[in-house]
């Protein structure tokens, strides 16, 4: 991608005096990511974005892939620092449909490339795969994108093979809202979709919208007594004290029979890298249960 020199680039040069030196790679556009799912996809394709949002939180609750320290933190996802983004002057900004409302502002800085991964009622894995390929195409990394999509599918298939006895086993994937409520990940969440791909059955069959349902009382977990429960971290502050004394929680068959596991944090609205991470963590937890 070659641009004629314009005012923006002249300015970028002027601003470069203020910036830490960025290793410029020929033919790779400088990318900024507003959406976390896009950020992890970029990193998975070996593209180091020049800027991305909420990196402090990302490193804590999305964890993978590792974000290099050289990536500029743009602040909150919902209210990114446009001035800073302007100074960083990327060639392209990638967002998801959640951030369409920022498009008019972002387009003043650089062309916006948007991908929809999460849509109400639609399992997101295939959309994420399509978004990965589209991003690869856009940024001249078709081969890497194809390879990553295949690797992800292979890894999930391999993990599925390690769970022969668990096939068809129902599993709740939840995040705890507080010590009395949870949010369930249904069929239109990445976790729900990956469960199905692992040969498991999502025990939460009710309608959800955009990944997680409104908070529900824990007693709803009793609807599928034979299900295992996977809790995605982080856990709210008071849960450590109150869950062990919660009579209903302790009466749940899954709790009595030790079929509950707490997973390390995974990005709730992620793309393929999150799908892989979740598949790995979930398989390991379920395998431990099968042996334990």
């Amino acid at each position: 991608m070659i641009h004629p020199p314009n005012r923006r680039q002249v300015l970028a040069l002027a601003a470069a005096a203020l910036l830490p030196p960025v290793a410029a790679r020929a033919a790779t556009p400088r990318v900024a990511a507003i959406d976390w799912g896009m950020l992890e996809t970029l990193l998975a394709l070996g593209i180091e974005p020049v800027a991305a949002t909420e990196l402090i939180q990302f490193r804590k609750i999305a964890v993978e892939p590792r974000v290099p320290q050289s990536v500029t933190d743009l602040g909150l996802r919902g209210a990114p620092n446009y001035e800073l983004l302007r100074i960083v002057a990327p060639d392209v900004i990638v967002i998801s449909n959640f951030y369409e409302y920022q498009r008019p502002m972002l387009e003043r800085i650089a062309p916006v490339f948007a991908q929809a991964v999460y849509e109400a009622g639609v399992p997101p894995y295939m959309l994420a795969e399509a978004a990965t390929l589209a991003l690869g195409e856009k940024l001249g990394r078709q081969a890497e994108a194809k390879r990553y999509a295949d690797e992800t599918a292979d890894e999930i298939a391999r993990l599925r093979a390690t769970l022969p006895r668990a096939s068809g086993h129902p599993v709740f994937v939840i995040s705890l809202g507080d010590s009395r409520h949870f949010r369930a990940f249904g069929r239109d969440s990445m976790f729900g979709d990956v469960l199905t791909r692992l040969g498991l059955v999502n025990a939460w069959t009710d309608e959800t919208s955009y990944s997680a349902a409104a908070p529900v009382g824990l007693e709803a977990l009793a609807r599928v007594p034979e299900a295992s429960i996977l809790i995605v971290s982080p856990l709210p502050a008071d849960v450590g004290r109150s869950l062990p004394t919660n009579a209903l929680w302790n009466a749940l068959p899954a709790v009595r029979q030790n079929r509950v596991a707490v997973l390390e944090p995974v990005n709730h609205f992620g793309c393929l890298p999150s799908a892989r991470r979740f598949a790995r963590l979930a398989t390991a937890a379920l395998a431990r249960q099968a042996h334990g």
Binding site: L19, V88, Y101, M105, R183, A220
Partner: protein, 667 residues
Amino acid sequence: MAERTKSDRAATSAALLPIALWGLLAAVAALLFAWRVGMQWPAPLPGGIGLDRVILLYSTLPRGAVAVLAGAVLGMSGLLLQHVLRNPLAEPSTLGISAGAQLAMTIVSLYAPLLMERSQSLVAFAGGIAAVLLVLALTWRRGLEPVSVVLAGMMVALTASSVSAALILANGEYLFSLFIWGGGSLVQQDWEPTIALTIRLAAGAVAALMLLRPLTILGLDDASARGLGVARHSSRFLIIALAVWMATSVAAEVGVIGFVGLAAPALATLSGARTLRQKLIAAPLIGAVLLWLTDGLVQLAAGSGGERIPTGAGTALLGGPLLLWLLPRLRLLEWPHLGSKGAAPRKASRPWLIILLLFALALVAAIVALVVGRGPDGWSIAGGDLLTDLAAWRAPRISVAAAAGAMLAAAGVVIQRVTGNPLASPELLGVGTGAGAGLTAVLMVSATASPGWQLAGSALGSLAALIAMLALAARAKFGAERLLLAGIAMSALCSAAITATIAMGNAQSYILLRWLSGSTGQATALDAKLALACLLPLTLPLFLAARWLDILPLGSDSARGLGVPVAGGRLMLIIVAALLTALAAMVVGPLSFVGLIAPHLAQLVGFSRARVHLAGAMVLGALLMIVSDWLSRMAAFPYELPAGLFASLLGGPYLVYLLAKGVPRQG
């Protein structure tokens, strides 16, 4: 003779009617509960694992018990607060107790999570009592006059919620538990909360019975109470602390349940409870029925995917209209009106020169905000090409902030002068939160609605709130108190809708949280032009009506004597103020404190006549917002904080100081 029998019979049936009505409502609640129990009744399967039984025992039954107990505790707490403060509008949410408790829990969860695990209810109590003490301190000089107490309470509550919202925004997912809590959910999984609330209710009842005599006397005015030898202040604070303890225990166990504490005592009075003893029995009973019924209805409306409305938001949705209905029936005017208090405001000898100087100062601030900023490499002063480029981002924000500040300040001057209440604030007109309710409605239809639709939703929401409020106030001939109270009720109602949506914890929640905390971050050149273009035509009529603004604070009679059309004049001024507030709220969120503070600052400088007061307040409001917006961009760079939050942090302490000194009435 026949006449007398008839009136006797009428009196008897008048006494029986409320009891029959409450009995009926209780029966409906019981029926709903029985239906839940029936649904959960364990099937007599021999090989069953008994999970149905567990759910019945540990979820369905305790939930019913907690609904009844929490309702009763809130009813009692509200009654004690209302009685001691002699204020029919006092209750945990109007006094800022719930919001204070929530803020305390937010801060502790963030910075001392271990403390939160140990003693949630103690943290909640500390926050609640701090909020009440602040409200009482704010209104002490005004003799705890009811309307001022509630206004101060709402300001404290709004500020606490906005700080909580900002903290939650900056810390992501971790704190969503607090928003579930803010929605108020009665979901139960064991009997612990039931036991805790039973102890509270019993302790409250015993204490109230022991304090019956001082309580009765405290219901009288101060002079009589002193004459009867009651240690007024200490017993008053003792009872307030008791009520706060009861209310925050409910808050800690199940979350924020609004309006039960307000409605139960009022309904007890309307149902014919006359003596304090009767009220002490009736209010908890009515509170219990109200909450039990609401919770039954909320569960009835719930799908299998979860409850659509948290119970606490449900009580507010039912209670808001109830409060609006109650307003004309409450006896508010028993309270002696306070005359001019404190020294006459200082008058500046050359006000227009000072305004010019302040205007120059605001311009300097705007230029500094435009030029000085932080970049990846620290502080920098932009110039040349970089400045032209950054100005395209900074200028709209600065203009929007300044215009919003000026609009809120103008609206504040109008509201404070029309109502004659220095604690009145345009944020409390209900149009600001109405904008939020409209935004919520648009987001419900589509989480990815475009900014244009969001703006249209906000505009329609504030318009609807304005019309509803004016219709209500019209019945009271736009009397100052009714107007403020109608605004408060409207605010509470809209806030409930917003809270219920935020408690869902989805993509919409984040947009609403950001709006709630007041952000100028998305301001475009179009917003800036719109705001600046509306500023002049909307404020010009106020300058032309300056004579009304000078005269209205003197009271209706004097105003009429001087030939001011009181009702018509008030109506026109309020409509303009509401439009100004709605516009400002659409671009910078519902709360900034600017509308409250700028008029006071202007008066302190010495702008006393309406025209200079208006101009001075507008310039000061713009200045305050420019500085706040700049600070919000700089403080946590690159993370942008809400500008409204900084405005409250800048203005709040000053307001406390001002109120503690005793504010003179406007005019």
